[in-house]
């Protein structure tokens, strides 16, 4: 089912999302991938504040290509989410409500999603040019020295994703392949 949601998320929106829903996100989301997650983890270990407020927010696992002049961002598709699994339950417990990436998550992440009533979306991997056009603005807000891995504040409009793990723990990857499996 096609749905439109607004980010930051609220509990009501998340509750209505089901694994398999095709969703268009508009609003503000944040990019962070491997190196930014590592730094956030180190900050938390030292008792320092994070550079972004996680509450009700969505993190997009993204390292864009450089922007051409006049454009907010370059190619901007999702990276593999499992590399962030080690860091994710802690961020969910601190208020993160959504993640956009691609690929499978660990059992620990799935449990943290259910525990915190959050949601994991997949964007189409390798559709970076198309997804770039749904990003209206991009601003580096932390860890600028990490280059493509810096944390960015992104304004998105009708950003297309599919719900993979919903707040009740239904997992599209587990059920979808079974339906077409003939071996």
């Amino acid at each position: 089912m096609d749905k439109k949601i607004h980010a930051p998320l609220d509990a009501g929106q998340i509750r209505e999302l089901r694994a398999g829903d095709y969703v268009y996100i508009s609003g503000i989301i944040y990019s962070a991938r491997d190196a930014a997650h590592k730094r956030m983890q180190e900050a938390l270990d030292k008792g320092e504040p994070l550079p972004i407020d996680l509450n009700n927010n969505i993190i997009y696992y993204l390292g864009p290509s450089p922007a051409r002049e006049g454009r907010p961002i370059g190619s901007a598709g999702p990276t593999t989410a499992s590399r962030m699994d080690k860091y994710t339950p802690r961020l969910l417990d601190l208020g993160l409500k959504g993640m956009i990436g691609k690929g499978k998550r660990t059992k620990e992440v799935q449990e943290a999603i259910v525990r915190n009533k959050a949601v994991y979306f997949a964007a189409v991997g390798g559709a970076g040019a198309l997804l770039s056009k749904r990003i209206l603005s991009s601003e580096v807000i932390a860890y600028e020295d990490l280059g493509t891995e810096a944390i960015r504040r992104l304004e998105v409009e009708n950003f297309p994703v599919v719900v993979v793990i919903d707040s009740e723990g239904n997992n599209l990857y587990e059920t979808a392949a079974e339906k077409y499996r003939r071996i």
Partner: protein, 281 residues
Amino acid sequence: MLREVHVEELTEHIKEMCIQVNYQLSGDMEAALNRAAQEEESPLGRQILCQLEENLQIAAQDRIPICQDTGMAVIFLEIGQDVHFVGGTVENAVNEGVRRGYAEGFLRKSVVGDPLERINTKDNTPGVIHMSVVPGDKVKITVAPKGFGSENMSRIFMLKPADGIEGVKSCVLSAVEDAGPNACPPIVVGVGIGGTFEKCAVMAKHALTRECGRHSEIPHVKDLEEELLEKINKLGIGPGGLGGTTTAFAVNIETYPTHIAGLPVAVCICCHVNRHITREI
């Protein structure tokens, strides 16, 4: 008779090829995608394949790389033994081409200089260069930038001779199944069978540069390619890993003689953005 080739010529070609291949897929890959969009049984799968078709159009029209992971540059050089390079070293010239291509082409710099210290080199160098010497006085350059979503799902298996062809099939199928949605399906599967540990890996990578849809010239290897493709597409993984009948576009196998005690198998998985471009100078 030696033919002199100035290394600057290599640099210029590699620069152009790095840029071109990241904005426009080769015709074989585009045709495979278009065909899959017609034949895919899952409605969500078709929707994703249509997004990928649209993505290619936007990439070409608006000059946005097809995928933000513009890869680590893998370069195969087949150097004619009658060629004499002048003006510098081949390795430096190739890396200079990568450096210029990734800077001028607005491509992502995804390489860290030391795998443990992990500091970005900020110019996407070095590339990974495979050189071989062949008869003649030409140089065949193939540039194949590799994204790591799929590279991370690639595998090497050191089988026993007793495992035989059935063992090879189960290696390929298990690698594809483990990769699942992570490798950005529909994928192209490069397989190297035989040789040694490193030889089969290089063959698997090189197999990805073969035109999609063209089969091995060895009849029993061609049969194996066809059988594996059919089986992979019955796994149900589908476009984006969201279920469907298009999991792979092609299985390309290269083989090499091996030791009496071994049967090495490498499975190199590439996402649907299987970038490869070849020029001969």
